[in-house]
Symmetry: C2
Subunit: 698 residues, 2 copies
Amino acid sequence: MSLKSLFYPGSIAVIGVSREEYKVGHLIFDNIRNSGFKGPFFPVNPKADEIHAIKCYPSILDIPVDVEMAVIVVPAKFVPKVMEECGKKGVKATVIISAGFKEAGIEGSKLEKEVASIAKSNGIRIVGPNCLGIINTDSPYNASFTTHTPKKGNISFFSQSGALCAAILDWSTEEKIGFHKFVSLGNKADLTEVDFLEDFLKDPKTKVITGYLEGVTEGEKFIKVVSEVSKKKPVILVKAGGTDSGAKAVSSHTGTLAGSQAAYDAAFKQSGVIHAQSVQDLFDYSIALAYQPLPLGRRAAIVTNAGGAGVMTSDACERNGIILSQFSSETVDRLRSFLPSAANVYNPVDVLGDSLAERYLRAANLLINDENVDSLVAILVPAAPTQIKETAIGLAELSKRTEKTIIACFMGKDHVKAGIEILIDNSIPNYYFPERAIASLAAMYRYYKYVVSPEKIYQKFDVDKEKVQKIFATAISEDKRFLGDEEAREVVKAYGIRIPKTELAKDINQATEIAERIGYPLVLKVASPDILHKTDVGGVKIGIKNKQELRDSFDDIIWEAKRYMPNAKILGVILQEFISAKREVILGMNKDPQFGPLLMFGLGGIYVEALKDVSFRVAPITESEAWEMISEIKSFPLLRGIRGEKSADIDSIVNSLLRLSQLVTDFPNILEMDINPLMVYDKGKRSVATDVRISLGG
Amino acid sequence: MSLKSLFYPGSIAVIGVSREEYKVGHLIFDNIRNSGFKGPFFPVNPKADEIHAIKCYPSILDIPVDVEMAVIVVPAKFVPKVMEECGKKGVKATVIISAGFKEAGIEGSKLEKEVASIAKSNGIRIVGPNCLGIINTDSPYNASFTTHTPKKGNISFFSQSGALCAAILDWSTEEKIGFHKFVSLGNKADLTEVDFLEDFLKDPKTKVITGYLEGVTEGEKFIKVVSEVSKKKPVILVKAGGTDSGAKAVSSHTGTLAGSQAAYDAAFKQSGVIHAQSVQDLFDYSIALAYQPLPLGRRAAIVTNAGGAGVMTSDACERNGIILSQFSSETVDRLRSFLPSAANVYNPVDVLGDSLAERYLRAANLLINDENVDSLVAILVPAAPTQIKETAIGLAELSKRTEKTIIACFMGKDHVKAGIEILIDNSIPNYYFPERAIASLAAMYRYYKYVVSPEKIYQKFDVDKEKVQKIFATAISEDKRFLGDEEAREVVKAYGIRIPKTELAKDINQATEIAERIGYPLVLKVASPDILHKTDVGGVKIGIKNKQELRDSFDDIIWEAKRYMPNAKILGVILQEFISAKREVILGMNKDPQFGPLLMFGLGGIYVEALKDVSFRVAPITESEAWEMISEIKSFPLLRGIRGEKSADIDSIVNSLLRLSQLVTDFPNILEMDINPLMVYDKGKRSVATDVRISLGG
């Protein structure tokens, strides 16, 4: 689907242009007039003859030529009629500025649906309603009521907050950040972030995609699209809002710990989105990605004319996972050959406060050419002799000669301004503070890792799907929301997750046979549909070590059961494998209202409950995502083994997570589930799910 | 000690003023000339007759009048001679700009000591050497080679990085931040951060104290002074540099986990320092504290004209521990009475994008007068109709009428500039991004909590200090760095930390008597100076439950010992209390090179080793600091009891920490120690140190 009519219309009508200059319709019309749009544009207002000496039409139908795009600014209740007229006129795209739709309650919501339906039947696309408008600096036109038209550039932006758009445009002017397309999403009655992601991907003039979201419209589609887009262009998003949408089941551990925030974090991580925590981060990362090539590694060289600033930068590197390069001995020798003796020739290289441009740039050149360096961070403080412009020019030349990443931190304002302008004009991003420079470099590196990550392959295990279908069908027919113990275990077993070996013995002879198969030690349980609390009647024995103990216990169990509950039907005794694995982990799933099945992993018991040390991913997951889930929890060292302990069988956890992923993907009606615990043996000895809870719904 | 001669000198000489305009001495002389200094000032240079038509003297001794303060810019090797002359001339304070001292190696270090010694014997104070100079905007004078003189204001600043000073001055001009005193510390040959903290405290024109440090000179004194200063004026510090100074023992858990960063974090926390993580934070917090009264609680009201910005602000509150106020029903009703129906009348209050100043301010007024509100966060986005100046003026008036904290976030640049200027002129801090506004508000609230915290009282327990002295004396006389098991336990016992009850029985009769006293179950161990590995010879029995088992085991132990080691001298059997407490914690101490004894607390075993979930404080600590140490670890819920478990006896941990604090304060020669584990029983049932390691040194 092309949004050409929206972004490159041949002609525009603004429907609802007031004569009063401060009114929204008028402001938009003025912005179109002043932004250099090359096609014809028409004001529509039944009460005016002309506006700014441009002929005004009572209705769009009265315009004598074709209209490709219309901006609608009339009160909400008139929008259906206007949309009908747009249909008749053959309009292809509309931007509805008017408020009073979904955001205003039930009536507004109905009205919005009506408008969307009229548009759809006429093949018209909608941006909004309840939005600020859109801008394309290339077309060029500004069909919004912003006070600014941004500078032309290669960043495109969409925003779910119209008001924030205004602030962002204001900042971007000061920071000299240029935009290509700028979209206020409004209520997203038709076009959503996904449509614009697709458009920006195909658009050769957009290099970096940015956005502010409060929620996504279709979670699964969003992940699919943004995962693909991110492989080709960086997508930087701010996600605001911490409250959960929709009702949420909280009967499971996973349900308690999962939340909208966890789901967004997981979805963004899996789909390569560069997650900005604030609008400031969004800007910082945008210019880095718009201006500079990606670093091919995490080894940075720092050059500075101030020791203190170098120290701050090193601190920031450590916090952000950027490594200070170890220079080759050749580089160190060469640095030593011309730097004063008080200078530091190791990373961060301090050329000292009295350095002129020549010394600084000679060092910078050496660093960027060292094969142990992936990026150069150029720190400059305005000391009295510092040649700010000359240094900036030299860095700009350096940047042209290298494929490596260069970012700058010329610290200060007025005194460094001239230098910063040179840097920006030469596509070197500058940050006022080292922390922000390094955070941006780290974001670039994380994005680079996503770009080069192998294509996702989802393993498909050979499973007994039909059996699970039957179990679920039975549960649903019995109106059971929670599956029983046995059924839940059977479900995971059908998907190849090991559960304790269990068999029913009718008599002692059968029991001894079974015991040989399962192996000692054993757990025995009375088998009776009438006995719910087996322990209370002496119906459970654990740690049965041999044939003699089996005989004794078997008899005991039958005897006690009969004694306590003479009328109970006793089917025999269940023999179950005794699980002696030391480590417990939890695998869980909770259905997120936006993104669907959200998988959770954590260490069993206290780690999950008290420390909330868990990780999340949206299903389905790949093998490497399963590994990430396991290794990113803080208590991971306990699994790998500390103090010379053997490692747990992490491969078997990965395998179980993948099988769980397949299960919850195959059965969207699983609302929540916990495998708690999955008992994990030492490396190579597998793991066993001893307790499983599944609830069905929706 | 007064620094009056330094900050308010009657006259100034600049020794080493070059005729060349770009040279440092010349720049400083120009800065003094141009900064409005009211007393006489003299250039000293044997090679010039006059500079800028001001008579130049060959030596300070040739100046015909008294000189109170001298700025020294001659090469390092001439500084001793110049300092001698300053002594003869009766100079009281000097600022040594010259480099080539301690920072340049061993020779420089010697030279620095020589200069300091000359100054001391002449009663002269020194700032520097190797510094940028100092500024006092009140005196006023600028005796530095910065390119700027800052605006006059009530923030004072010291910095261990001279170059950073330059950048900070440059920023401060742009951000309209005013300074009072501005000091580049240099090598701190004489005056250190502690001297300036004391001066700034007494100085009525300094309201907020700020500083950039890479290390402190005297850790213990620093803590003492800054703790007192912080009670009266906010002290905001950036600490850069993550490497540890000096050699560090790493034979204990505490030693491994403690580090310079942990020690600084602890020291800052305990002494009320507002710890800024970057220079940006330093600025942000400074203006909040310089401009606004402290919030008396953590309940903030947010008013905004943009929903999205409100959401971002709420998110930031949650991350920073700021609570969104619950308004009184009266406030909500009143808001509803005049706000449009689409507005949000709950926190954050969204007055909508079409709001003019009147509506916004009416809401702001209601909010700040609600008794459930401690602070107001005013968010404004430049939508088309927004009356930015009018809104700023209204907020300024509101601020004059209230004692509550108001901070603003007018988002944007050019369009909101006029409003921001009004805000700043009326002492309302403005932040470009909500996250920064809320982080600053949170810093103010944390500081308020320190200001109102009760005076620190260090408990003194009645302990057997003499016994510990003897044990240590013996160990030292035997040249033992590590204390033996028994001795280490005796040490903590002497300080009232419970250890397992232990008694030696020579025969079985004595053993049965002792057993009655200690109580069953018991642990038995063979007592023999010749048997080191007691378990190997069957010399240890645990879980002895009654008299019969005691008899049997007693005989067994003696028998086995004699059988395996016929020549060993056997003194009898040690009876020891059997400790069955479920929870293990670690208390530790590591001697920090800067701050002295650094206490550590964590949960036993894996929590410390794998999760590094520990807390630190510098000893001595108060009872409430001990509580903080315990409750700030992430695994604290495990101590308090989860899943209906009983709470551990946290009081006994507090008590043990305080006793440990007293011990390590009394004995500075303890280099490291671990009580690992302290076994903790349920609430009310105390705790027992079962294993103690102590190493001595220094």
